[in-house]
Structure formats: C-alpha cells, structure tokens
Subunit: 317 residues, 2 copies
Amino acid sequence: MIPDRTTIEEAAARIAPYIHRTPVLTCNALNRMFGGELFFKCENFQKAGAFKSRGATNAIFLLSDEEIRRGVTTHSSGNHAAALALAASRRSAEAHIVMPENSNRVKIRAVESYGGRITVCKPTLEAREETLKKVVRQTGAIEIHPYNDYRIIAGQATAAKELIEQTDGLDQIIAPVGGGGLLSGTALAARYFGENIRVFAAEPAGADDAYRSFKSKTFVPSVNPQTIADGLRTSLGSLTCPIVLQYVDDIVTVSERSIVEAMRLIWERMKIIVETSSAVPLAAILENKIPVKGTRTGIILSGGNADLDNLPFKAEL
Amino acid sequence: MIPDRTTIEEAAARIAPYIHRTPVLTCNALNRMFGGELFFKCENFQKAGAFKSRGATNAIFLLSDEEIRRGVTTHSSGNHAAALALAASRRSAEAHIVMPENSNRVKIRAVESYGGRITVCKPTLEAREETLKKVVRQTGAIEIHPYNDYRIIAGQATAAKELIEQTDGLDQIIAPVGGGGLLSGTALAARYFGENIRVFAAEPAGADDAYRSFKSKTFVPSVNPQTIADGLRTSLGSLTCPIVLQYVDDIVTVSERSIVEAMRLIWERMKIIVETSSAVPLAAILENKIPVKGTRTGIILSGGNADLDNLPFKAEL
C-alpha cells in the first residue's frame, strides 16, 4: 500500500537514531544568480553519503528478528549497497552485496568498510539478477530492492519531510529521478507535510525514461542510458511509477553540460561535495526548465559520493 | 600594540554584520580513525571562501571616511585579494589589487566579481612590491597588508574566538601557518577566551620558515618555498613573528603527501571542499606530529577556494 502520512512519520521515528538530520544550506551567490531563494537539503552529508541510508535503515528495522538473522542482500553498484551494509550492521546482520565488476573503487571500499560481503558479477542486469538469485538460494538472505519497495519509499520520504520542517514554507521541491524511490517519497511528503508545494523531478536527457513515462502516462523502461549521473540510469519500478505519475507535477530533462556546470557551481560556490546525480535539479534551474524567480525552492542534494579520481570538470561534453 | 582581549571583542562586533559565523563540523569516521574528538571550524564557508574576510573587513571598517575615500590596495595572488575587494565594496570603496600574471583564473574571477580593480605584474616579490608602490603613488590608496597588520590579526582572531564559543572546552587548536596572521590571532584568542588551550601550528616541510623561526627563536625568511599549499608560502611578518614565538606552543612540519592525503580525507569523509592549505593541520595529525588521541582538538579549515581544474589527487609526489 502506498505509504500514508502515519507510515512516513513512523519511518522517521524508526530511523532517527541511525541517520543524520542533515542541514539545509542556502547560498547568497546562487540566490542572487537565479533571483529566487534556494534551500538545499544536504543528503550528501547523510550516513554513508546519500539519502539511501534512510530507506535502507527503515527496511532493515522493519524486519523481524527471525528475518534479520537470515541476512539481507541486494544488487547495486552505488549508494544503496553501502547504505544497506551500514544499516544491516546496526542489527549485526550480514549484508550480501552483488556488485558489477566495473564498480568504482570508492563504492567497493565503502561497502567493505561497513562489513558488507561482496559478490562480484559481470556488469549486466542479467548477471546481477542471476547472481542475486544464487546468493538468495545459498544464504537465505532477504532481498531489499533499492527503490521498488514501500519501506524504502517511506524512508526516502523522510528527507523531504525534514526539508519542509526546516524551512518556513516552500513553493516547490525539485528532486532528481532514477528509480523513483526518492522522487516518490518526496511527492508523498510534500502532499502530507507541506502546504501547496509543487514537486518537480529533473532527469538527464540521456536517461529520460521517467520523463517519457510521465509524458506518456505509461511505464517506459530505461534502455541504454547515457549520462554521467550514474545514480539516475535505472528505470522506474512497478511501485514507484504509479506514485510518480499521480503525485509529481512535472518532469524535465537536462543536458550533460548543464549537469557538470551545476555540479561545478555547487562545489565552487557552496564549497560542498555532491555527486553528479545531485547536480541534476540545479541543472534544471540553470536551463530555466523549472523557473525559480521569486520562489522559495527546495532542492534535494541526493548524495556526496563523488569519485575524486574521475571528476568531470575537464571532460569534453 | 598586540591586540588585547577587548580589541578582539570589538573586532568581532565590528565585522559580525558582514561575515558568516561559520559552523563547526565533526565527523564520526575521522574521530574513530584518530581516537579523539576533532572540531573543524569551517572558514571554507566564510565570505569570499576564506578566513581572510575577517581581517580584511576589520581593517576596512577601521578606516575613517576620509581614508576609505582614497581606496585600498594590496598585492596578493590569493584569498586576501578577494576578501579585501569584497570588504571594500561594503563601504563603496575602490580596491586596487596587484596580482601576479600567473594567478589562477578562479582567484582573478573572484576579485573581479567583488568589483576589485586588478593590476597585473610579473610573479616576483620585487615586481609585486614595485607595482603596489606605483598604484599607491597614482591613486593614493591605502595599503592593507595581508597579515602584518594588527587590525588584520585581530580580525583573524575572531575565527578561534568563535570556535571556542561553539565548542564545550578544547584541549588544543591547530592552525596552518603562512604569514602568521591566522596563527597569531588564534594564539591570542586561545589565551583570552579559552581555558588552557594549547595552540599548535602545522606547516608544509617545503615552506618551513615559521618552523625554523620558532625553533631558532629568531626570524627566518621563506626562501624558494615548494609546496602545493599555496596559501602558506609566505614569510612571517615583523608583527606576527613575535606573537608566534611568544604564544604558540609548538610548530610541526608535514610532507606534501600527507597534505594531499589529509585533503582527500576531508573531501571524501566530510564532503566539504577545502583548499590545500586547510588540510595541513589534519596532515599533522595523520603524521602523528600532534597527538590527538583522547583529546578535544579544534582545527581551523582556513579556506575553500580549491582550483577544481588542478586538483592534486592524482599528482605524483
């Protein structure tokens, strides 16, 4: 069942001891540049470096003692992997993480540092799913999907819930969209805890499945996505897609060039580290796809796990 | 006269409307790594991206109306240039900034964005001083030295004053040392506003003039400094050197490799952007030159104006 107001409030209380209530930052230079007030919810400062800790922690703590003894598993090359490993460690449970062999070193190290057990596989969706099935057969671990799970959605919703509590009235919130867990949660939280807050999603043009799903009002899968925003390459899920179609006001797409420019603006002006996916909402503002002049706009900075060895600032786009 | 307690309190009140009371951040991962509590004073989030705004603002607002009409000037390739330009703009005054022709693009753009008038010169100390003299002759502008000025020292002292106010008791504070403005101010503030707080300085081994001055108890100039910590290449001044010799507990030196490693730790673990000079105190902790186990240690992150086009993470050292 789509998380209701109480479910999200309960999730917030459940995860509170294990996650950061991240700060909301503002930047005079950016406000002047865009002629509106921007409120950045800094999930880059979240445990394990991304909002993913919210959903993973909520899911882990909803498992019974019997379930958690079996351990948990997921396939992920990204932030959900580390978040799940960290959350599982809070209940002294094993986390079996299936990671494609081309995963970046930083993400692998993060999973290891939280005690996750990594199984490497070929970098295809088929190999990932096959390997995951094998892990489940061998260990009995319970799969925690990165976004297509109402417990995860309720957890991710707590970021926007906090953002609304930490600001004195917002006109709109912009979130990036990949699998739609964060976006679904944001749309629900805005509805339950805000007053007339519009919710927009920003998506890389090279991975515009959510945009096309939204415009066609029917699920369109992500096929061969091409974007540096590696957190946003996935398709919407069967649970997130309906929430996005029903509760999100609009989805816009942005160019790779704008993503890099927006990321650079955040790094240079705000002096904080965000990963590429986090820059996508500001890219939509840069392209004026989502007007912010005269508004109070919340922006969810989804994560901060940038790969310092492969920064995009000099890349030819 | 060396700034006394009241002078620093007055400086704090004078500059308060124009600067940020920057946050003090902690990081569980780093605390676990080093077995002590580290409190990072985030001057990377300061106006114009560095603590330099404190001293520059204090100096500018101490000028009479008659003086400020003449404009101000300095030679600087770094953060003092932007800080002075911004502070001067608060009094609608002209700031003439002499910058060596090899100054980095980001710093030049910053000075321009605050309305500073740039005069380019050859990248030698002689050329800088000659050009500055010429600017003074032509414009009548008043020189504001980046550190060898008690008004500047009193301004920089407000960073440690705030750090002490924002934390509940510190055993020690570590600051980087270049010209000694920040370090002098930190030592004075610890003495006036703290209780038994030791003050340490960390300096790149390749620019160890302050270390040698401290150990020999006599001024040693910086000759041909070699370090990526570009803010720390200058010599102590005639006003800062005696304060450093008298009030600082010890000065240690660190390797270039440790500076890069410390900078990477701050970026990766804290998700904030600091420039190379800011990483020098943590480098001293990494090298165990300043033990922190079981202590409460304040660290001044001096600035955040990193050159994103020339990051050191892949550099061979």
